[in-house]
């Protein structure tokens, strides 16, 4: 299963970005193969509609779970209909590595 994590940077030491639509990077982690992919978010400076555009990007990677700090109003209904699980992890100091370690267990 693929999991998307919002990240402030493109290393495993980066922190979990507390925003979804305007996060800096997406980390796509494959729980089966252990593969990790960093995707820059093209919507981070979007004037509006950053959320739905980011959903489209993430959904195209066939992600089934998204870990972020918060999800906006436009996103919740969209992800609900796409059957993608939302996990709100409000720990801005945690690194991507620590989240991946949690998912491995």
């Amino acid at each position: 299963m693929k999991v998307a994590i919002t990240s402030t940077g493109n290393t495993l030491d980066s922190k979990v970005d507390q925003r979804f639509g305007r996060c800096a990077w997406f980390v796509i982690y494959d729980t089966e193969t252990g593969g990790i992919e960093f995707l820059p978010n093209p919507n981070r400076d979007a004037e509006e509609g950053a959320g739905p555009a980011s959903v489209q990007l993430v959904a195209s990677r066939e992600v089934q779970k998204i870990i972020s700090g918060e999800f906006g109003v436009k996103i919740k209904s969209l992800l609900d209909s796409l059957k993608i699980q939302m996990v709100m992890y409000k720990e801005p100091e945690k690194t991507i590595q620590s989240v991946i370690d949690m998912l491995k267990n």
């Binding site: 507390q18 004037e47 509006e48 918060e70 436009k74 796409l82 699980q85 996990v87 949690m102």
Partner: protein
């Protein structure tokens, strides 16, 4: 005559619970103009049914229930369950079984976690305030000059 669920809900909030449009729009997490538009539609449908003797069926519409949220006591994350059919057993993050349904505490959760580091700015007069998550900037108006607000970094990018 199909009365959509959101139309039923505005009638319930405005005419049964006696909320004003502003309170009702907050309760439904939509803008005040949107609420008034739905309310107008709902009343037109009910009036039509009443006058022409049609049956009212409450069904359909564009609704999303902000419920079915759970909290993990171990890692303090909130998550939902998109697959309504299966039961929630463990946390999707840390696999802990220490989870609780947090519908009851939805209100204070919504209030206490809405702040983030972004800033809304008024493109006209430069008024700034912290962005509230889940409240799109362009739906907010500047208290000084009534222009629509936007994200601060966007404005800078545009100026350059």
């Amino acid at each position: 005559m199909f009365l959509h669920l959101e139309e039923y809900e505005v009638i319930r909030l405005c005419d049964f619970e006696h909320m004003n449009h502003h309170e009702a729009s907050k309760a439904m997490d939509i803008s005040r103009p949107t609420l008034t538009r739905i309310y107008g539609k709902a009343r037109a449908k009910i009036a039509d049914a009443l006058v022409t003797g049609k049956q009212i069926i409450i069904e359909g519409g564009k609704v999303y229930f902000d419920s079915d949220w759970y909290r993990c006591r171990n890692c303090n994350s909130y998550f939902n369950q998109p697959d309504k059919g299966s039961a929630v057993i463990s946390c999707p993050l840390c696999r802990s079984k220490e989870i609780e349904n947090c519908d009851a505490m939805n209100e204070d959760m919504a209030e206490s976690h809405r702040q983030c580091s972004d800033i809304c700015v008024c493109p006209e007069c430069g008024y700034e305030r912290p962005h509230e998550a889940a409240h799109p900037c362009k739906d907010q108006v500047c208290p000084v000059c009534n222009a629509r607000l936007m994200r601060k970094n966007n404005l800078l990018a545009k100026d350059l």
